[in-house]
Amino acid sequence: MPSPKRIGKIKFGLLSPKEIRTMSVRKIIWADTYDDDGFPYPQGLMDLALGVIDPGLRCKTCDQKAADCPGHFGHIELAKPVIHVGYTRLIRKLLRVTCRSCGRLLLSPDEIQKVSITAEDELGGDYLTEKDIKKERSCPHCGEQQLKVNFEKPTTFSEVLLEDGKKNEHKLTPADIRARLERIPDSDLRLLGINPEVARPEWTILTVLPVPPVTMRPSIILENGQRSEDDLTHKLVDIIRINQRFKENQDAGAPQLIIEDLWELLQYHVTTYLDNEVAGCPPARHRSGRPLKTLSQRLKGKDGRFRGSLSGKRVNFSARTVISPNPNLSVTEVGVPLSIAVEMTVPVRVTAHNLEEMRALVLRGPERRTLKDPCGANYVIRPDNRRIRLGGENLETIAEALEPGYTVERQLRDGDIVLFNRQPSLHRMSIMAHRIKVMDGKTFRLNPAVCPPYNADFDGDEMNLHVPQTEEARAEAAILVAVQENILSPRFGGPIIGGIHDHISGIFMLTHDLRWFTKSEVLYLLKFFEFDRLPEPGRIEEDGTPRWSNKQVFSMILPDGLNMVFRASSCINCDECRHTDCERDAFVRIIDGQLQTGTVDKKSIGAFDGAILNRIIRQYGMDRASRFIDDLTRLSIRAIMIDGFSFGIDDEDLSKTEYGQIADELVKAKDDVDRRIRIFEEGQLEPMPGRTPEETLEMQIMQVLGKARDRTGEIAGRHLGLGNSAVLMAVSGARGSMLNLTQMAGCIGQQSVRGERIMRGYEERTLPHFRRGDRGADAHGFILHSYKSGLSPTEFFFHAIGGREGLVDTAVRTSQSGYLQRRLINALQDLKVAYDGTVRTTMGRIIQFEYGEDGTDPMKGSFGDPVDVKGLVESIIKEEV
């Protein structure tokens, strides 16, 4: 392999006509491409000297075949010069700052001194701009009166003549402009920030047009044998045709009017050839009406050359499929379908030490029918870098030939480390390294506890998998990217992996209050868990059978010696905490690895919270923590299966008394609203400070109705206890809230647009169902029904209005935050913390003198604080502080 070369510097400049002619291998004069036999015309757009694309032909310039010939430029001599659209702003600036007769800068030497004093200064030197030149003046060098230069998009320049008070525009032809630019002396250009050695301004006016090699505009042959030319070729054909006609007319001495028209047409074609999306210029179209993709369009935008082809790369050794859950896998594992495992390979160098093992792999070949079959190999690479595909008959001969220096590409097997990723990759936990477990089926399997960092669910999500191909990559993956190294989020220093949904419901049901299990139940719950002996039973029944408490069962998966005291999510912050005697069993106390009181729920083990998990990480390390998550997910799934867990429409049923109370509550609220409206209409309403009476009324109504809804929720909540699945999920923090339950069973409440009651619609009313000027609750989007009881037609309409706002908000938010993220990443992607603690760019420029001002790793802190003092003290004195 050739050694990589270092780029010293890059110089940007303009191509001079001379340069264009020098690099050209052929002057192109014919607009046609191929003759009837399918052979390119000499001096046509597909001339063989411009490179070849058909296999078999040889390039006339370099005598190489299609695969090796890089292609060569040709050129078109334009009948008259035309402006290059990409440089119109530069041309405008130059026309405005230089004299129309002598071409010098419109500044006297003194003025230049004053304005450009820093131009040569390294620290933020400036060049002259249009603003430095005063309008309406005469040239300080030759005294010529200057005229205003007007620019009209896309390429028209004109001078404004003042003749007896009337403005008279006089158009400048590209030839005039070129002549003016030619007169600007080199010394003046340097002051303008232009290096005349590489970019004389007159080169922005094209007199000769380079014709790109055919290799960058290949023609394709359609199924019916017809040739289809590239968009660039089409555009070049147009340019040559017009150029030809222009020349003929010019030679024949056509009238000025026709010449001008043709000149403009040529300008249009050259403009669209360079950029087909210029403002003020209709885009050139294909016969089908599709706008042509010309030079600028090839480079620009997401799928352009830069963002699409150079920064964006595609990789080998990757796989993608649907994901599905499997709580029996470890969080550090990923289940990979057999069909993927046999396709993807890991290269292994053959050494004296693994020779026999490698022989066995090669002998087995690529066939692997069942999970139980040992892994085989797909390719062997000989020391001379020849790749040999293994299969059928060659296995034995190759296995025989195997010796140190060979490389065997073996299939994936259990324990191989791979990178696992889900888009959008918004943070570093979006790519983590897992260990492979080859499985049946066609999906990637993962423990649901790793869903939060990937933001994955199983409604059809797909994920990608990459197999590292070198020892270094595998080491890096195992040490830095592994799941257990990323349990803590660098965003807030807390665990981001942890129990979700059913894990939380399950562990809540298991640990809530006191419960006694028989031996067989305990063994069922802990079936997966390796332990030497059961603890002493917490109680012996009268008939002598031992019983273990639910807290004892949970304590089995806790590390020994763990001490913690905290309040669970189910804590409602009573005025006076009764600690271990808590009615709701929300006071969690873990002493010496034994759960004494309290319920384990979201606060203890949930993703983003995980107090117990957090403590295990700090006290016992990442590996113990990942083992805890594995045990926890398996235990909680078994726990939820003991009782079973479901939710149906009849779980929202209330009794007659509750329905009566809810109806009373809503009638009362409505009456209250009507009363307030009456007070307002009588003009008796006392406005709140800084608000109009109308605003005051609106606020009062919102408040009254909001309270009414909450009260219906309370009524419903009183009826539905922890025996209700929705309540259990809300209290434990597994999913949903009491508000959701209120809306299902009690009353949906006020619908709003931008935080206000719904006001839009018709004149003075929201819908024709109401009277004009009705300010009542139901006329402005209050829904007094519940989801279960069903909505009335007007309520349904208001609900749709409110729901639409939510959808629009999310759509806007995602697109805006996506763009914000892109800009942020572009700005920060190459920064790194140097060994001296400074944050630097790749060029060594300092961004921060100490990372984050304090040099601390946010992952090592605790939810924003450097040290979790409270938690530490509590775990030592074993009491709440």
Binding site: G124, M843, G844
Partner: protein
């Protein structure tokens, strides 16, 4: 005419000082950097004007930090480019 106020007196504005030649040399040596690897600040920045910083000076900015107590930053004064 408006009243000239000292921006450095404002609670939200950190302390700015112009560094001496010797201090600058020590700074560059400490981080093993050249002038143009320093972060920059415009010459017309209110804080720079207050301490009378000139183009080419290095300004020391001392901030109070919640976690680090005191955090120092150094910025090279440059001309604000036109436009």
């Amino acid at each position: 005419m408006s009243v000239r106020i000292n921006v450095l007196d404002h609670v939200m504005v950190p302390n700015h000082q112009v560094m001496s030649e010797e201090e600058v040399q020590n700074l560059l040596r400490r981080y093993d950097i050249t002038f143009d690897q320093l972060p920059r600040i415009y010459h017309d920045d209110p804080g720079v004007r207050q301490v009378n910083g000139k183009v080419g000076d290095v300004i020391r900015i001392v901030r109070k930090s919640q976690t680090a107590g005191i955090a120092e930053a150094y910025r090279l004064v440059v001309r604000r480019p036109k436009k």
